[in-house]
Symmetry: C2
Subunit: 278 residues, 2 copies
């Protein structure tokens, strides 16, 4: 009876069934791989995961206290800041000399003043000075980095980094007195237990890291801004970080080794990075 109305459907019933099964299977597979590869998309920013606003509804607004500097002082402070920032270099050779904890705490405090989407402050800083823990982190990083150098990144990455004399041996991870591990919180938790959206979390955390490395430089210490590719999950689990946190950066902090060298790099001149429309 059904075949009278839809002869095509009956005749090719098995074929249709196979096509549908294939569709479902591949859909599932690609969805899975898509999620695994690309967890953060702009469109995902505004997913419906909460009911209460992130900030109190009755948030007061207060006068902004401001002391205006004379133009001359403004210019000299801007130049002074540039000089400090320009003196910063990425170091790969550290001294084991200890650094007072309180200096590191002030540096993290400074990083925590960064702006963030809807003031969500989506960052966690883990400071490690424990030698056993540093060794464990080093072995995770070296294991992954060896794969990165040998396989994942292929010849290009190795070629591109070779002038910087980097490889997968990361002695500084056990030598530097501190490792700062910066995590982004992809979402937060509201007092009622519901998830709280964290807008632009990666950008907010990276901005905080810009302040962090400036604070390190300002205090007279040195660091290496590193992105340990694929080490995130293992380090997160080693440090017992919650499920909403993802490793963004790993920064050894301390004094440079006595014989530390840096590659003789030049920075782009202002004319190459600035366009003025006056």
């Amino acid at each position: 009876m059904f075949s009278e109305y839809a002869p095509f459907t009956t005749k090719y019933f098995y074929h249709i069934v196979i096509a549908v099964i294939s569709f479902v299977l591949f859909n599932k597979f690609f969805n899975w791989s898509y999620r695994r590869i690309a967890p953060k998309v702009d469109e995902k920013l505004f997913e419906d995961v909460q009911e209460e606003p992130a900030l109190p509804k009755d948030l007061k607004h207060i006068p902004y206290r401001y002391i205006r500097l004379p133009e001359k002082e403004m210019l000299s402070r801007a130049s002074e800041f540039y000089q400090i920032a320009a003196a910063r270099r990425t170091l790969r050779y550290f001294s084991a000399n200890p650094v007072p904890k309180e200096v590191i705490r002030e540096i993290i405090r400074a990083a925590g003043t960064a702006p963030s989407g809807a003031h969500t402050e989506p960052w966690s800083f883990v400071v490690v000075s424990n030698q056993t823990m540093k060794s464990k982190i080093r072995s995770i990083v070296e294991q992954e980095e060896e794969i990165n150098y040998r396989k994942r990144m292929g010849v290009k990455w190795t070629v591109d980094l070779s002038p910087l004399r980097t490889n997968w041996i990361k002695e500084y991870l056990t030598i530097a007195p501190y490792l700062i591990l910066v995590f982004k919180q992809t979402y937060g938790t509201l007092p009622n237990g519901k998830k709280k959206i964290h807008y632009y979390h990666e950008m907010s955390v990276s901005i905080a890291c810009g302040i962090l490395i400036t604070a390190i430089q300002y205090a007279g210490l040195v660091t290496l801004t590193s992105t340990p590719l694929n080490c995130g999950p293992a380090i997160r689990s080693l440090l017992g970080r919650p499920a909403n946190e993802k490793l963004v950066l790993l920064l050894p902090v301390g004094y440079p080794a006595k014989d530390a060298t840096v590659p003789d790099l030049q920075r782009k001149p202002l004319s190459e990075i600035l366009t003025e429309i006056y």
Copy 2:
């Protein structure tokens, strides 16, 4: 003959053909949609687009000159930097008073000292003080933001931002003496005309922005760190930026308005953002 050796293949030949066609079609479709939704994935960082290293192969390594500060000075500088950073607030009310160009140039110079993946320096800063151009930027932003507030982001974003008293009217974009538009370069160009890989470009540019807003604060000026959602293409074309650049942030810079207010926000205490493993 073939059927003797592989009876299954012969009997279900059409079914297999359909399964293969389904696979190819859905593979193609999902590949396409995957590319459209998620153009920047870690794995894509190391695509084969160049043959020469980003840095010269014979890059010299030079001794790092370093003056170690006494611990006491280190701590007082770390605290001083924290005080400066902590005094920074995101401002939404600007004065039209002019600011010397040279101050802005020093600030951009400082931002350009940021570290970047394989020293690719993947940033462009466009400083706009021209009134007509500022008006055009404002109208692009307001048009998109109205859609964002009314439709795209839905109730959540509006609810989340309402305590900050923001809406889609952005007067400051024409009042502030300068707009700094920060672009990331998703790839560069080698002297031989080939594409040059820009590793971790968004993170590098965001770190540079952390230094940028700190430089603005250090010089005694104020800013608003804004991410103009969906305005990128229109602003890029308005400013005639090349195809490899994408708008990341838009920062009005200047003095605060006389009666400027700020939301009475608190920052998370150190204990909430810092975990120490000693």
